[in-house]
Amino acid sequence: MSEPGARRAAIVEYQHVSKSYATARAARGAPGAVNDLSLTVPAGKICVLVGPSGCGKTTSLKMVNRLIEPTSGRILIDGTDVAGRDATELRREIGYVIQQVGLFPHQTIGANVAVVPRLLGWPAARQRERAEELLALVGLDPALYRDRYPAQLSGGERQRVGVARALAADPPLMLMDEPFGAVDPIVRERLQNEFLRLQAELAKTILFVTHDIDEAIKLGDLVAVMQVGGHLEQFAPPAEILSAPASGFVADFVGADRGLKRLSLTRVSEVALQPVVTARVGDAAGEARARTFADPFPYLLLLDASDRPIGWVSQGHIPATGALAAALATPMSPLLDRRTTLKDALSMMLDADVQTGIVVDRTGRLRGVLSVEAIAAALRPSADPGVIAAGTSTPAASGGGS
């Protein structure tokens, strides 16, 4: 990314925003009303608006780029009221992605990506260059796709082009209305992951609408749960939505399996790791054996000279004398990274049919072990939700280690 002003991100503030429709229009299926919505989306964060259909989430989104005008209240972007801006000018500064993508069928993919740069009057060569750069960024080979028409692409490819098009003028704010709603679950999962990878690089401010709570929890830095009638029920980080739903509606909406959902949201680094008896290859066996008797866990974790785990040695197999040899170690527990989610960690442990996983740092050195009990403890409803929420924002704070 070499565009000037890259990495700009906007702050979006809703101040007592309401949108009401005449009863007759509402009965004909007009978009959902919004009732006194106030929230602030910090720069560079993904804020997901989630709720059942008719909860006003799409209306809230479209009021930002003035496709819908609020009945009352103000929306500020970086402190400027959008109502005072020229609508077309405003929209060219905001990336916009919709579920049906809305590519122009009569223009090539290259031209579609360059729509906004063209509106902004960029020189033709720069438009072309930018389109190719963005196609590559979303994983589409420019040489292969540039001259095709939208009808020649799959749904997933079209949605990638939609994202590339929205990014074309490097907007500080993106509005995404169910962007992954129309593709099959496998493609959706892939697009979500690519989206998170892109966002880690671009750090745009993103307002994202979905009706899928799992998607909201996976993608959102902040989640706004909305209720039919346009009421904001809760606005919090996903971990807090799951661990401390603000109302019965939110609890119902996130579902009975919210404990399990938290597994995929919590990372190994947020759980206190347990120490374990260790020894290096070449250490005196007798002394190591003695230490295993002092620990309730009757195993020794054998490390190489750089503290990288080799495998477990059970108490009974440790020789009374001599040095510890690497050959003594039996197959390992799964190796976990501190960034591994508890869901993946648990899955790996179940697959390997073991009760503990070994947590290592980036260089492969031992950090501690994670037991099934520790995972269960982290999810216990009695666990202070504040601790988990705090852990989300500052992962380093609660990460234990040996």
Partner: protein, 222 residues
């Protein structure tokens, strides 16, 4: 059966009448398109005006041509205006309905994306909606042109000065069904209609390349 000597002696006249035929048809379709285009844009923008516009065009279409010529002669005399006005009127219903249908056929998600990206209303119309309406607009022009080429023959009833190739058909009839002359009018006018039809099919393929680009043809287009 065919009087080749007559044909050989009238080649200049056939050429002139063919040119006149094309001239009257093109003039009528061009004027008809200009009027239809404006009315269709008005109707598309202010939907409430579409039913009356469409109804008026439909009403004009139902007026018998001979009656219309007779009525116009009293106003505009034996001028080209008298010949062209009815021809124009008959194109309106086809062209207006096709242009409006073409604009209506633009997918709503495309319109929403255009608005969301900050195209002005005019940019949306010229860069997105009209290009996407082209297949139906061209189809309307094709139909209007072919039917106008047929109708031009009847303008010969106003006076010998008009009628294009229709002049030969009427003149041959008045000479007591002189078939050679009637064929000299009928055959070229049929060929003109077929030729115009073919040209519009080619034109449409040429200016709407995306309509042929489908997922199955990726290899061909890549």
């Amino acid at each position: 059966m065919i009087d080749w000597t007559w044909l050989g002696g009238h080649l200049d006249a056939i050429a002139f009448r063919t040119w006149q035929h094309v001239y009257l048809a093109v003039l009528a379709v061009a004027i008809g398109f200009a009027i239809s285009f404006v009315l269709a844009l008005v109707a598309a923008r202010y939907r409430i005006l579409y039913p009356p516009i469409s109804a008026l065009a439909g009403f004009l279409f139902t007026i018998p041509s001979l009656a219309l010529f007779a009525a116009l002669i009293s106003i505009t005399g034996f001028s080209v205006v008298t010949a062209v006005v009815p021809l124009v009127m008959y194109t309106l219903v086809i062209l207006i309905r096709n242009i409006v249908a073409g604009l209506d056929g633009v997918p709503t998600d495309v319109v929403e994306a255009a608005d969301g990206m900050g195209l002005s209303r005019r940019q949306r119309l010229w860069r997105v909606e009209l290009p996407l309406a082209l297949p139906l607009i061209v189809a309307g022009l094709r139909l209007a042109t072919v039917s106008t080429i047929g109708l031009v023959t009847i303008t010969g009833t106003i006076s010998d000065a008009f009628g294009g190739l229709g002049y030969f058909i009427l003149d041959g009839y008045h000479r007591g069904n002189f078939l050679t002359e009637m064929y000299a009018g009928a055959v070229p006018s049929i060929l003109l209609a077929l030729g115009a039809d073919f040209l519009f099919v080619r034109l449409q393929r040429r200016i709407t390349p995306w309509t042929r680009a489908r997922a199955g043809e990726v290899g061909a287009a890549a």
